[in-house]
Each structure stands twice: as structure tokens, then as C-alpha cells.
């Protein structure tokens, strides 16, 4: 099976610094790593490959300094890593990002399944998977918590619709966006650290870099980057700065304080 994994290099949000005044993210304050949700996509891809053979190709759109994240993907089992990187891709919102990723997948030629994480830790949208599927004209399913079965033509998954989990069968090729925790057949999927030998192998591996020209036969360049993005951030600010001014109490005094609060809030009479 030809498996595509969409990987977003994202900053570790527990390390990244925020400019509280300007409401912007200091992107140089943390290195880029694989979006944690996408690690599950890599793990599931490996399990599918184990069953059917084939290759795993990862595609990422990111600045050049994202390269170590792609090497990490190779160390974790991706066969071929493609980095879409060009100033003309910069400033893309989800629509332009999905358009570009879809173009790159089209450029690859044949594929059987596309896997990605349910969302990214920086964009938080969960929109890119469905939009890529739309641009490719294939079915998709989001918020998948279990891969129940898979054949060369179909995949059966359990997906969270909101009110309940549903069992859904998709015809391949299809895009599957994974939640966590996720189960593959009967087994809980947990990303593991790559082995040292794999890390060393990945250091020497080739990361292919594609620029906008590389996609010129499959895409319209005016739909890349900021130019192709219909949404604009007009204002942003840091949301967590203002904490609450907690009253701090200790021990038995604490029990009394909680009981008081419960009464005041009407939780107990």
C-alpha cells in the first residue's frame, strides 16, 4: 500500500515563548518537532505497512528549519520525507495549506490511504485533513479512535461524532484523521522513541525539499500562501496571562473554605 502521512512540524507549546504585549508567538523560542497527534498517524502507517507492504511517504509544509522534525519522522519509520518549503507558501491559512498539501499528494501520483493527526497543537483547527480530502475528491473520516479492520479496498474505523462513537466503513483511497488514544485492531497505539541506530540512519537520509515551482504542473500558484488565504488575523493576544487571584488556604481551614464555596455556589444546601 502507498501510505501518505501528513506531518506538521510544530513548536513544543510548553516551551514556546509568547510575546504577551503583541500577542504573537516567538517562533524562534522553541525548535519544531512533530505535532504530537501526528505521531499516531506514523504509528498507524507502520502497522498498515506491516500488513500489506508498501511505502510510507510523509509530507510537511514548513520553513526549512523544520528539517530535524522530518528526520525524526524517518527515524520513526517513514520511508520518504518531503518538505514543502518556499517563501511563496508562507502565511497560508488552512485553505491554502490544504490546497498545497493536496497538490503535493497529486504530484506523488498513486496513493491508497492518507493519515494525519486530528489537529495540530498550534493551529488547533482540525480542518486541514477534511480540506485535503475535499481537494483530492476522496472520502475522509475525522476523530478516529480505532482502526477496526483494513483491506486493500476498504477501512473500517470507530470515530467520535460527538454524541457517540460510530462504526464507519470507507472506500479507499481515503483520508483518516486520528485522535488519541487510538487502537489498531486490538492494540493500543503508543508512539515509542526511535532506536539510536534509526536516528543515525535518519541523519544521513535525504529529505526532499519541494518549492512552489515543483508543484507548477498540479496547482495554481496564486492559491498558495498568503495570496491564497481568505482569512486574516486582525488582532491577537495572549490568553493565559491574567490568572485569577486565588485565595490560598491550608489543611482543615481548606475543608471549611471548600464547604463554604459549595454553599455559596448552591452546590450543597
Amino acid at each position: 500500500m502507498d501510505i501518505v502521512v501528513l506531518i506538521k512540524p510544530t513548536p513544543d507549546i510548553t516551551k514556546v515563548k509568547f510575546d504577551v504585549e503583541k500577542g504573537v508567538v516567538d517562533r524562534s523560542s522553541a525548535t519544531l518537532e512533530i505535532n504530537p497527534f501526528d505521531l499516531y498517524a506514523i504509528e498507524v502507517a507502520k502497522r498498515i505497512k506491516r500488513l500489506f507492504g508498501g511505502t510510507i511517504t510523509s509530507i510537511s509544509m514548513a520553513p526549512p528549519h523544520a528539517e530535524p522534525a522530518l528526520r525524526d519522522a524517518i527515524a520513526r519509520g517513514v520511508d520518504r520525507a518531503i518538505l514543502l518549503s518556499d517563501k511563496r507558501f508562507a502565511g497560508a491559512d488552512t485553505l491554502a495549506t490544504s490546497y498545497t498539501l493536496a497538490a503535493a499528494i497529486r504530484k506523488l501520483g498513486h496513493f491508497d490511504i492518507i493519515l494525519c493527526g486530528e489537529k495540530s497543537v498550534d493551529g488547533d483547527t482540525a480542518h486541514v485533513g477534511p480540506e485535503v480530502a475535499e481537494f483530492l475528491g476522496i472520502p475522509h473520516i475525522s476523530f478516529v479512535t480505532r482502526i477496526t479492520s483494513i483491506s486493500r479496498d476498504t477501512i473500517v474505523v470507530e470515530a467520535d461524532f460527538g454524541d457517540a462513537y460510530y462504526e464507519v466503513e470507507l472506500r479507499l483511497p481515503a483520508l483518516v484523521a486520528l485522535s488519541r488514544p487510538v487502537i489498531f485492531k486490538e492494540e493500543f497505539v503508543e508512539p515509542s522513541m526511535p532506536r539510536v541506530s534509526d536516528v543515525l540512519r535518519a541523519k544521513r537520509a535525504r529529505v526532499e525539499v519541494w518549492n512552489a515551482d515543483a508543484l507548477s504542473d498540479v496547482a495554481n500558484a496564486s492559491r498558495f500562501g498568503l495570496a491564497g488565504s481568505p482569512t486574516r488575523v486582525v488582532k491577537a493576544y495572549y490568553a493565559l496571562e491574567k490568572g485569577r487571584n486565588a485565595r490560598v488556604v491550608r489543611g482543615d481551614e481548606g475543608v471549611a473554605a471548600i464547604l463554604n464555596a459549595l454553599r455559596e455556589l448552591g452546590v450543597v444546601l
Partner: protein
């Protein structure tokens, strides 16, 4: 007349309309004087429920209801809903399309946006019209660390909106509205087959009024019982931080946070939870937050209204004792 009015996608894949859809109708009524045009609702439903659902949507604020009927079996099929929403947009030509930011809505709406080539903003906490008459969407990013205000340059403006951020309007069953029944053909509906419900949710934390949440301060699976008992005594839902789900001590439906449920209860009691940003993202909008922790420097302290420095076992037992004694 093009790109006027507001279209609310009423989420109905199970036979009953998700309440978040009604919240969006309330918001649409509030915004419509500044946007102009009508408030539309669109719903996919089976034949038997057309009247019931249209009446409901009108009562909650729709002027016009665009209805698509399907066989019961196809009701939970996302392919059908995608085609219906695209059709409703091309019929109503609204300025703004609002969709509940449920997993279902966040799966359908972006496909529709890509299909019609318009911008979409995810998981909004607010939508307002600025002094230029532009629609502005307010949403969190960076795991809730940043709040961004976003404008869309294309029509229609599409947004998924987090359930529970707008109040549920009072339904008025004497309101009059128009019902428009439309047909669509759905090619490739069989590319996705929904085989049925495989598992019910253990709990819907997003609707809970009182939550008792436990974290890694709990030492073993058996100990969860003590906190379950406390939750019961407070008529609260028991919730947790992620490690407890990872260890298999709690069901995933009970996880609060960025990769779990976003909650906004009247009272959130965090027991032995440090307050990692991914956890804070899920509960910081709770009305009142109590944290119990042995460590006064834990980040959760900053986001709480009342902090008790102490052992969660000790505090839980004493609370239970007090709640059971005649005093209450």
C-alpha cells in the same frame, strides 16, 4: 440579492438536533440587524421529522428553514450532509455560515469550505460585527494560549463555533417561519458507510454543571473510588487529566483538556492536577475553580479562585465526612 443573512447548520445525525445549533440561532438573531437579510437554518432529516424539526428551528429563531430529507439509514452519513450544506449555501447565499464546532461539525464544515473555496475559522468563542460591518471571528490557538480575531475576505464567511459559548435562547413556538424542502442527489454516498453506533459516550462533560477532576495525585486505580464517591455526594461528574486515561484508570470521555473535553461548569474542583497548559485549555473558562494540591507552586494555582494546600486523600475524606454529617 447575494451574500446576505446568516445560515445556521442544524446538526442532526442521530434524529435529534444538537442543542448547540439552537445556541447559534440565538446568536444569529442577535447579529442579523447588523448583517441584514434573514436567519436561515438548514437541516438534514428523515421524512417523519420534517415538521417537528422545522418547528423547533423556527421557534429558536430561524426565519426560513431549508430541509433535506433522507432515508433514516443515511441520516448519519457525512457525505449527504456535505452535499446538503453546499446546496443550502448556494440557495441562501448567506453572508455568514455558522456550524457547531462538534467533532461532526469540524469534519463537515471544512470540506464544504474547501468545496466552495471560502475561508473557514475553527472553534470560535465569539463572532461579532465590527464598525466597518465586517464579520470578526474570535478563536483560540496554540492550545488555548493565544486568542486571535479573524476576518474572512471571501463569501460566505464560515465558522465553527464551540458549543456552550452562546446561551440557549428561549424557544417561541408562536414564531412564524417559512419551510423550504429541497432535494439533492448524492453521488458517491456509498464511499462512506456508517454502520451504526459502536459505543455510547460514558458522559458528556461539556454539559456538566459541577465537575470533580482528578490527576496524577491519585496513587492507584482502586483509589479512584474515593473520588467517585465525592463526586456523587456533590452530584458532580467525575473527570480527570490525561495520564489517568493513559494508564487505563479512567475512560477517555472523562478527560478534560486540549485532547479531551472542553468544559465550562459552574464549579470545577481539580484534585492533584498540576495545571499543564493542555489541561488549562480545557477548563479555564469554568465559573469557579477550586484546586487542591500539595504544591503551592503548581501552575493550576494561578488559574484558580480557591486553592487548598493539602493532601487530596485527606481533604476528600474530610469533605465526604462533612457532607454526610447532619450539618448538610
Amino acid at each position: 440579492m447575494n451574500w446576505q443573512g446568516i445560515l445556521v447548520y442544524a446538526e442532526n445525525y442521530s434524529g435529534s438536533i444538537n442543542r448547540a445549533s439552537f445556541e447559534l440561532l440565538g446568536k444569529a438573531r442577535e447579529l442579523i440587524p447588523k448583517v441584514g437579510g434573514d436567519v436561515y437554518a438548514t437541516v438534514v432529516t428523515n421524512k417523519e421529522s420534517v415538521e417537528r424539526h422545522s418547528k423547533e428551528l423556527v421557534a429558536f429563531g430561524a426565519d426560513k428553514v431549508i430541509v433535506y430529507t433522507v432515508e433514516e439509514m443515511l441520516l448519519p452519513n457525512p457525505v449527504v450532509h456535505r452535499v446538503a450544506l453546499i446546496n443550502a449555501i448556494s440557495y441562501a447565499k448567506p453572508r455568514l455560515v455558522l456550524v457547531p464546532a462538534t467533532p461532526w461539525g469540524r469534519s463537515i464544515a471544512p470540506r464544504v469550505a474547501a468545496a466552495i473555496g471560502t475561508g473557514i475559522t475553527a472553534d470560535c468563542l465569539d463572532v461579532y460585527i465590527d464598525e466597518n460591518g465586517d464579520v470578526v471571528q474570535v478563536r483560540p490557538a496554540f492550545t488555548g494560549n493565544i486568542i486571535a480575531h479573524i476576518k474572512t475576505l471571501t463569501n460566505p464567511v464560515m465558522a465553527t463555533v464551540r458549543p456552550g459559548v452562546f446561551p440557549l435562547p428561549q424557544p417561541r413556538y408562536d414564531r412564524k417561519g417559512e419551510v423550504i424542502v429541497r432535494d439533492v442527489s448524492v453521488p458517491n454516498a456509498d464511499s462512506v458507510k456508517v454502520l451504526g453506533v459502536s459505543k455510547k459516550k460514558a458522559v458528556k462533560l461539556s454539559e456538566a454543571e459541577v465537575i470533580v477532576a482528578i490527576g496524577r495525585g491519585v496513587k492507584s486505580k482502586e483509589d479512584v473510588k474515593l473520588f467517585e464517591e465525592l463526586a456523587k455526594a456533590l452530584k458532580a461528574q467525575l473527570a480527570c487529566s490525561r495520564p489517568l486515561v493513559d494508564m487505563g484508570w479512567m475512560e477517555r470521555d472523562r478527560q478534560v483538556g486540549f485532547s479531551g473535553s472542553i468544559v465550562k461548569p459552574k464549579l470545577y474542583i481539580a484534585l492533584g492536577i498540576s495545571g499543564a497548559p493542555q489541561h488549562i485549555a480545557g477548563m479555564k473558562d469554568s465559573k469557579y475553580i477550586i484546586a487542591v494540591n500539595i504544591d503551592q507552586s503548581a501552575p493550576i494555582v494561578k488559574y484558580s479562585d480557591l486553592v487548598v494546600i493539602g493532601d487530596i486523600y485527606d481533604i476528600a475524606k474530610k469533605l465526604l465526612h462533612a457532607l454526610k454529617s447532619s450539618q448538610f
